[in-house]
């Protein structure tokens, strides 16, 4: 008896589809049964040899990482042997995992949780070695090796780690190596990196990774069931040692630079500071110190989380190379751009004067000179020498923001210099287009004034600023700064010789830059920099201060101070009309609240040390805390 409900139900039951499903089961099971019969009954011998528990595998043979020397051939980094404990999870039976982990944790003094986490965090195949501990003491390593029968899957591997011989002095330049991260290995595995490999993380260790690393070799080894190597069957390829580097940095200059900036930081209680020394003829960096710094040996065997967090939180951000990675307003040092532009664009001639006064007005706004008085009529050299703001407001006004930006780019601002270190910032050169893009409004005339004296939107990195002055000192060649001189192959041959890398030749007549160099000398002779002129050597340069941040209780803004100075090749009898300078020094004092320009005193001290001047010209009283009045 079939009622209406049954009709409905019967209608949606489709025998053909049930039949089709049955057919699918039949086909699937037939295929599986056939394959199983083929493997187990007909063709077993084809696979049977593979049940032999010993098997041959290809293993990488690590190469020796290249060494690093300073300019004079002094060794800065070496490799020292160390023992690492690793686990191949595929060889560690699940049932024995707990006992092995407990045993290892006792031997290594590590928590069992850390060991388990290391095993589980392994990103690759279960047959890749997972690093458990680095730099294991030799007696422990020996104990673990001897107990290998009870510790299946555990291997002791002899490898080498970096030893940075001068530690903190070179940390910012050399950087450090570290274990590749699970994210990195996805891309790096095609380049021969192993999941437990190390790679340059920052500094030269990172930027020259491809030279330093060398090429891994490969050998076929026979392993038994518990992963122990029974014998090396054949060597497929030998490892090729990495190339070594010779830096452009001179350890002696680096030490002097460190001494000078450290004195400045201690005396003026600075948050951080930078000192860079370059050879303007080639773009070689002779010294580069960024303080505070850290000891990269902490990273050599794997830094502890506590140490790393400490460094991240430390004041002055020691892990950042402030010489290239931070950008600040350049202040009056930027007047070299405004002056060069004014001369080159014909807005100004060498002897033409402009009237400087207490302030310039635009509508209701007053733009003051730094001394709130002016100096009367000044030409370009005395204007630059006194660092007169109202002088350069007028030049900037005549140029307009876009021409000012053009000359800033001529000096290399607004783009990374391309120095061979990672982590370089690019700075900002404002222009009408930039402001439209960033804020949606055009430049105001007052902002052009500000830009002309290196305030407002302009920001530069210390390396950009010193590099701009190298072009001034060498007559208009803007070079890419370099910290590595030569790459030397493991066989001792030069793989990559040194050659200066020209970014561009400035679009300027030699005479214009001569005037600006002489203007920089005027800064010193006019005693804008106090007693710098009294040194028994010739120094030209430009100071700068730039306010930033928030006013303190007394309404004063914190400020940075800059000084960039250079000497002629013959520092005693030479002249700045030539372009033969071999030494250019920049100091940057971050968050100084001193009565004088801290950076100038730091450069002065460095010059004394570099030229071995026995009389001390330093004026520590200028580094006292107080309200700065000057520029």
């Amino acid at each position: 008896m079939i009622g209406p409900l049954e009709e409905r139900v019967a209608a949606q039951r489709r025998p053909l589809r049930f039949l089709a499903f049955g057919l699918a089961v039949l086909v699937g099971m037939t295929v599986l049964t056939g394959r199983l019969a083929y493997m187990q009954l007909a063709n077993g011998s084809q696979y049977i040899q593979r049940t032999d528990p010993n098997h041959i595998v290809a293993e990488a043979v690590p190469s020796t990482r290249g060494l690093i020397y300073d300019r004079a051939g002094r060794l800065l980094v070496t490799n020292i042997p160390s023992f690492a404990v690793k686990i191949r999870p595929g060889d560690l039976p699940v049932s024995q995992r707990a006992t092995v982990v407990t045993r290892l944790s006792g031997l290594l003094g590590m928590s069992a949780t850390d060991i388990r986490t290391a095993i589980d965090a392994n990103p690759g195949s279960r047959f890749d070695l997972v690093r458990i501990a680095n730099d294991v003491p030799e007696p422990t390593a020996r104990l673990i090796s001897e107990a290998s029968a009870d510790l299946p899957g555990v291997q002791v591997v002899v490898e080498s780690h970096r030893q940075y011989l001068s530690g903190p002095l070179f940390s910012q330049i050399l950087g450090y190596t570290g274990p590749v991260s699970p994210e990195e290995i996805r891309d790096l595995s095609t380049k021969g990196y192993l999941p437990d490999d190390w790679i340059g993380k920052t500094g030269v260790e990172a930027s020259y990774e491809s030279y330093l690393r060398g090429t891994y070799g490969s050998q076929n080894v026979e392993r038994d069931a518990s992963g122990r190597v029974v014998q090396v069957v054949s060597t497929v390829s030998d490892p090729k040692a990495g190339s070594s580097l010779q830096l452009t940095i001179d350890s002696r200059e680096q030490k002097l630079a460190q001494q000078a900036i450290q004195w400045g930081i201690d005396t003026a209680d600075l948050e951080s500071g930078v000192l860079i020394v370059m050879n303007p003829q080639t773009g070689e960096v002779l010294a580069m110190v960024s303080l505070p710094t850290y000891d990269n040996n902490l990273f050599a065997t794997g830094i502890s989380t506590a140490d790393y967090q400490g460094l991240l939180k430390a004041s002055g951000r020691p892990l950042v190379n402030h010489a290239i990675g931070d950008q600040y307003p350049p202040g009056s040092t930027y007047k070299v751009v405004t002056g060069t532009g004014g001369l080159a664009d014909g807005k100004l001639t060498e002897n033409q004067t402009l009237l400087t006064k207490a302030y310039l007005s635009i509508g209701p706004y007053k733009y003051y000179d730094w001394n709130h008085a002016g100096w009367g009529p000044l030409d370009i050299k005395t204007g630059f020498g006194h660092s007169s703001d109202t002088f350069f407001y007028q030049v900037a006004g005549m140029l307009g923001i876009d021409r000012l930006a053009y000359w800033a780019h001529q000096y290399g601002f607004g783009a990374p210099t391309g120095i061979d270190l990672p982590g370089e910032a690019s700075g900002i050169v404002p222009s009408n287009q930039w402001k439209e893009d960033t804020f949606g409004v055009p430049f105001f005339p007052g902002e052009t004034y500000q830009a002309g004296i290196g305030q407002g939107y302009d920001v530069v990195t210390p390396i950009q600023l010193i590099n701009a002055y190298t072009a001034l000192a060498n007559g208009g060649n803007l070079y890419q700064p370099q910290v590595v001189r030569e790459v030397i192959g493991a066989d001792g041959n030069v793989v990559r010789p040194f050659e200066p890398k020209l970014i561009h030749e400035m679009d300027v007549r030699p005479d214009t830059l001569r005037i600006m160099r002489e203007a920089a000398r005027t800064v010193v002779t006019i005693r804008h920099t106090y007693n710098l002129v009294d040194l028994p050597i010739l120094v030209a340069g430009k100071s700068g201060t730039a306010e930033f941040g928030n006013r303190d209780a007394e309404g004063r803004l914190p400020f940075h101070s800059w000084f960039v100075g250079f000497t002629p090749r013959d520092a005693v009898n030479g002249s700045f009309s030539g372009t033969d300078s071999q030494l250019l020094v920049l100091a940057f004092a971050n968050n100084s609240r001193t009565v004088g320009n801290a950076a100038t005193e730091i450069v002065k001290y460095y010059m004394q040390l570099h030229y071995d001047i026995s009389k001390d010209y330093r004026k520590p009283e200028l580094l006292q805390r107080g309200n700065f009045f000057g520029d």
Binding site: E6, R17, F18, M29, L32, R50, R186
Partner: protein
């Protein structure tokens, strides 16, 4: 037996129906086949547990614990009246998505994956439960639309229901389980009577999308794993290793096998995940071709009983739900065993009942229990 027995139609309400009559509709055969498969799984767990079989936390003891839980869940689900599932479909659906989101957020797994969640020290893989819950939700959706199954909208609606869960699982990342979702969807649509024309077009567009997914979605290591079955010797130390070892294990089993707990591959721990997805390789080595055939036969018998329940159900919900369970079990069986035998890519799909995974076993018990509930809580359809 069963299928061929013609019963008079009884239109009793379930509530008025005596419980004794309900138990007569309980499918003992289905239960026994599932129990036997579970016992084989336990035997493999015993075989793989080394000397410390009875030590706390061994694979075998954990397997026993999960089997106990599974039996409780199965019985409870059978007694539970499945009709409530129709009322609860949407809450179930969103709970399901919620569990998968939680897995993504706090889940743990090997190498940065988030596969399982630890509850009171016990790891549970919600994606296994998600498959069963998705079958329930889809059965509800399709049975309510049974008059419109010719329409494209029904098919698209079903796809939209499955998509979030499949994507959440894919993000874990667990390619295998998201493929199972696909198989469940296709099986249920087909058996519920969806338009073959639209199903064909859908299948065609999926095939057309394969090259796009291959180049843009899959990561290199996933591709490598998928392809290594074609030539495991190309990378014998990496992705091909498991395959080579499992094929070696299978072929050394011969007709009768080496006997429980005597397989070299498992005992030398050469087959690394023997306790999980490659368990069939150990089974084939230790119990031989005959053992493999017994497992196949039990699966065929089980699938027959599941489809019988589906056929007999007078409620379209039951038919479609049975179809979903059968599709899931068949797909996992073929893909898992095919992978071990080297004719399918490595996808990490467990072998139902046999793979030692608590979540897989308990979820299957839940699914089969609900199927029993469908058997018990309605009158039989007329033959």
């Amino acid at each position: 037996m069963g299928v061929l027995r013609i019963e008079r139609t009884r239109l009793h309400n379930w509530a008025t129906r005596p419980m004794g009559a309900a138990w007569r509709a309980f499918d003992w055969q289905l239960t026994i086949y599932a129990l036997l498969l579970g016992c084989i799984g336990l035997a493999m767990a015993y075989s793989n547990s080394d000397e410390s079989v009875l030590q706390g936390g061994s694979t075998f003891l954990r397997g026993l614990m999960w089997a106990g839980i599974a039996i409780v869940v199965f019985t409870a689900a059978a007694v539970f009246d499945y009709k409530w599932l129709k009322t609860l479909a949407w809450p179930i659906y969103f709970t399901n998505l919620g569990l998968l989101v939680i897995t993504l957020a706090i889940g743990k797994g090997v190498g940065g994956a988030s596969r399982w969640v630890s509850l009171a020290g016990v790891q549970f893989q919600f994606s296994e439960l998600a498959k069963i819950l998705m079958i329930v939700v889809l059965a509800n959706f399709l049975s309510r639309r049974e008059r419109q199954l010719d329409a494209l909208s029904s098919i698209l609606g079903a796809c939209l229901l499955v998509a979030p869960a499949a994507v959440l699982v894919l993000l874990q990342p667990d390619l295998g389980t998201s493929l199972v979702f696909g198989a469940i969807l296709v099986g249920m649509l087909f058996m519920s009577g969806a338009s073959l024309k639209w199903l064909g077009i859908l299948a065609g567009s999926v095939v057309a999308a394969v090259p796009v997914v291959w180049t843009h979605v899959l990561r290199d290591y996933q591709k490598q794993r998928l392809l290594s079955f074609l030539d495991p010797t190309a990378d014998p130390q990496g992705s091909g290793y498991q395959l080579l070892q499992s094929q070696a294990a299978v072929s050394s089993g011969g007709l009768l096998g080496k006997g429980l707990a005597s397989g070299t591959q498992a005992q030398a721990d050469l087959l690394p995940v023997q306790s999980t997805d490659f368990v069939f390789a150990i089974l084939a080595q230790e119990l031989g071709f005959v053992g493999g055939l017994v497992v196949f036969a039990l699966f065929v018998a089980l699938l027959w009983r599941v489809m019988t329940s589906a056929w007999r159900s007078r409620d379209p919900f039951g038919l479609i739900m049975g179809a979903g369970l059968a599709s899931m079990i068949l797909f996992q069986l073929v893909v898992n065993v095919g992978m071990v035998l080297g004719i399918m890519p490595i996808t990490g799909i467990p072998l139902p009942f046999v793979t030692h995974g608590g979540a897989s076993l308990v979820s299957l018990a839940l699914g089969l229990g609900l199927l029993q509930s469908i058997n018990m809580h309605q009158s039989r359809a007329a033959w």
